[in-house]
């Protein structure tokens, strides 16, 4: 008799897990305030369409978000039905055959693709000609600065070149340190994760370098301009000491934002999302400005194309409902709401001309131009492998374990070796 109990138990659990009701599951991560906002969005969607959406909450960390999505998709699981992807994964996920092509839905509902940033759609969302995802928001790295502190020390404008930044940050940090031991001139993301690639791409491009794919498809990272840029990044921490020592161990988006938010930094490199949060901070309201990132004298400013896109799983059992959600999230109204509430830059170009936006978030209009010219990371199926190799060596240089020259040489060798495996 006693034997039967456990068998019944396991049988029951088997049964109950197999017969899950059909519901729309949406997997998304992000910073805490973003997730809270998604809950609102889901509520609004339910009111409008009557469709119930289950929110599957992911961590803030980008790599962990990718891990969650990849495991789910690779297992051909029916959930999640719709999810957000970082701009760099769209290529990999699409080429793995995990995304539902959206062209037929777009045609059926007469969605005008031209309303979105066409460069973004073509370079990121298209795979073999088909549209596999749509932009929810576009991102680019920005320089945040304390208007009040600059004024206090006699500067009218934020730095435009790295040389200017160095000079201004050193002076302000030295003076502010007299009262506040924890004050830093310039904080940016240097921990070993995807964000480091974004930061590096900006520094290196602004030095005249970058991460390029040459005509043979080879990814080139080891060029003198990149070495110079990496050296500069290293020096910010160890030589000029205007960036904290835990830059390369702990600093990611939220950590950097908090340092600035707590009044402990003059300059911050971060994504646009931080704007709304800084403005909400009573201590910082009206004291924060944003502008393009600095560049080396004679070169051009660069901003890494970021952003998140929404896609439908090929294994979803509620694709039509999922498409309704996609339409909702990329609609004019919702895109405007995201901009006003979360400081996200809409993936839809038409929202930038909106009058409410112009009044309450005028900075967004300024940035439209930045985003149209942002630098993209390579869109490859095996990007994550390349990224990890590069991350490792960049971080190693920042921690002084390798010289910038060594780091980039080794990275180049390993990347070349790595790619060989993916050639057919």
């Amino acid at each position: 008799m006693r034997i039967l109990y456990p068998f019944i138990l396991s049988l029951l659990s088997f049964i109950t897990s197999c017969s899950r009701p059909r519901e729309l599951t949406f997997m998304v991560g992000g910073s805490p305030n973003e997730l809270l906002y998604w809950e609102k969005v889901i509520g609004e969607f339910h009111e409008k369409t009557g469709i119930n959406v289950k929110l599957i909450r992911q961590p803030t960390d980008t790599d962990q978000r990718r891990q969650g999505i990849v495991i789910a998709l690779r297992s051909k699981s029916r959930d999640p039905d719709v999810f957000l992807m970082d701009v760099v994964w769209v290529g990999a996920i699409a080429s793995s055959g995990w995304l539902e092509p959206l062209d037929s839905y777009i045609e059926r509902d007469n969605l005008d693709l031209n309303k979105f940033f066409s460069r973004v759609v073509d370079e990121v969302d298209r795979y073999r000609g088909n549209v596999m995802a749509l932009p929810v928001y576009v991102d680019g790295g920005l320089l945040y600065y304390r208007k009040d502190l600059l004024r206090k020390y006699g500067y009218t404008n934020p730095p435009e070149t790295w040389e200017e930044l160095l000079q201004i940050a050193k002076k302000v940090q030295a003076r502010e340190r007299q009262k506040n031991k924890n004050f830093w001139g310039f904080v940016w993301q240097g921990a070993m994760y995807e964000g480091l690639i974004c930061t590096f791409l900006e520094f290196s491009s602004s030095f005249g370098g970058g991460i390029a794919t040459d005509s043979t498809g080879r990814i080139v990272v080891n060029i003198p301009q990149n070495v110079e840029a990496l050296q500069f990044m290293q020096d910010l921490i160890h030589t000029y000491k205007i960036s904290p020592p835990n830059t390369y161990t702990e600093l990611k988006e939220e950590e950097v934002r908090l340092i600035f938010d707590e009044g402990n930094a003059l300059l911050e490199r971060n994504w646009p999302y931080a704007w709304g949060l800084h403005e909400k901070n009573p201590e910082l309201k009206n004291k924060v400005g944003i502008t393009k990132l600095p560049h080396k004298k004679g070169k051009r400013s660069a901003s890494t194309l970021g952003g998140w896109h929404i896609g439908i799983s090929r294994f979803s059992d509620v694709k039509n409902e999922a498409w309704e959600f996609v339409k909702f999230v990329t609609s004019y109204e919702k895109q405007r709401d995201f901009a006003l509430n979360l400081g996200w830059n809409p993936g839809r170009v038409d929202v930038y001309a909106d009058t409410v936006i112009e009044k309450t978030a005028p900075h967004l209009v300024l940035l439209k131009d930045v985003f149209e010219n942002a630098v993209a990371r390579p869109s490859l199926p095996y990007y994550s492998g390349v990224s990890q190799i590069l991350q490792k060596h960049l971080n190693s240089a920042l921690s002084l374990s390798e010289t910038p020259q060594e780091a980039l040489e080794k990275a180049q060798d390993e990347i070349d070796e790595f790619i060989k495996k993916y050639e057919d």
Binding site: R74, S95, Y248
Partner: protein, 291 residues
């Protein structure tokens, strides 16, 4: 007593079959499957192709792989040594009769009972540069500068080792205590009559007779340390800069990045590693036994 021999065997198999079946399905087949998988180029977005031992050849060329191996074996050596020393010490302590002994025996199991993931996050907090307990003490008692535990390769190594030792010493202690309890008291009494010092008694009575329990504990602990995953994943994720990437984490990364072929190759290598070590231990033991 051996009535109906054939029927007996059939009944025996009936009773052992559920165990054999589930082991076959969920352990043996996966291991063989992993090995076969390691012989293919199996990457999500590319067609699968039989490549023989190419995955292994490629791994051997990778500095990442050797760093992983180095770290794993170094960690194992240090961690297991520390656990053993602590384990013996605690076991000796618990063998003595004194007030409070039962209290100690009671709390001994606490680190073992706490799920690894949880204790890892707990230690993560204690190692935090700004808010960690350890740095707080170093700072406040001026014994040293704050250590960037999780931010440097060196610090991270010790961070992981200390956390691992904390978690597994109870198990070591228990096994060794049980071993100690099999040593007859008369031997000690005899030695004391012969005026042997505490240290001599330890060296010539305790250690030799503890050997069987020691070997068992060492085999399990070494195998566990070589294949460690949970603690490292949560505490450092293999960082900083991949310096604490144990072989298990290396394999895991390959799987997450869609490269099941190489991931499987790494898995098989870990498998062989664990077994070679165990085999070596047993051989060493066999020799000593005959002495």
């Amino acid at each position: 007593m051996k009535i109906k021999k054939n029927g007996e065997i059939r009944t025996a198999y009936f009773y052992i079959s559920p165990l054999l079946t589930i082991i076959l399905l969920f352990i043996l087949i996966p291991i063989v499957g992993t090995f076969i998988n390691s012989l293919y180029r199996d990457i999500t977005y590319l067609p699968s192709r039989f490549t023989g031992f190419t995955n292994y050849a490629d791994l051997i060329k990778l500095s990442d792989f050797w760093n992983s191996l180095k770290f794993t074996t170094l960690f194992t050596a240090v961690s297991v040594s520390l656990e053993t020393v602590l384990g013996i010490s605690f076991a000796l302590l618990l063998k003595e009769v004194f007030t409070g002994r039962s209290f100690l025996r009671t709390i001994l199991l606490i680190p073992w009972a706490i799920p690894t993931a949880i204790s890892a996050r707990l230690w993560q907090l204690m190692y935090n540069y700004n808010y960690g307990l350890l740095n707080y003490f170093l700072d406040v008692t001026h014994t040293g500068a704050k250590v960037n535990w999780l931010g440097t390769a060196h610090g991270a190594f010790w961070a992981i080792t200390i956390a691992d030792v904390w978690k597994t010493t109870p198990f070591m202690t228990l096994i060794l205590l049980a071993g100690l309890q099999t040593i007859p008291d008369e031997l000690y009494e005899q030695a004391m009559v012969d005026n042997a010092t505490m240290w001599k008694r330890f060296l010539y009575i305790t250690l030799p007779l503890l050997r069987p329990a020691l070997v068992v504990a060492l085999i399990f602990r070494t195998a566990d340390a070589l294949r460690i995953f949970d603690l490292v994943y949560v505490l450092t994720g293999g960082g900083p800069a991949g310096s604490t990437r144990t072989v298990s984490i290396l394999g895991f990364h390959y799987f997450i990045n869609g490269d099941f072929g190489t991931g499987s190759a790494v898995s098989i290598i870990i498998f062989l590693l664990v077994f070679i070590f165990s085999f070596l231990y047993i051989r060493a033991w066999r020799f000593k036994e005959t002495l």
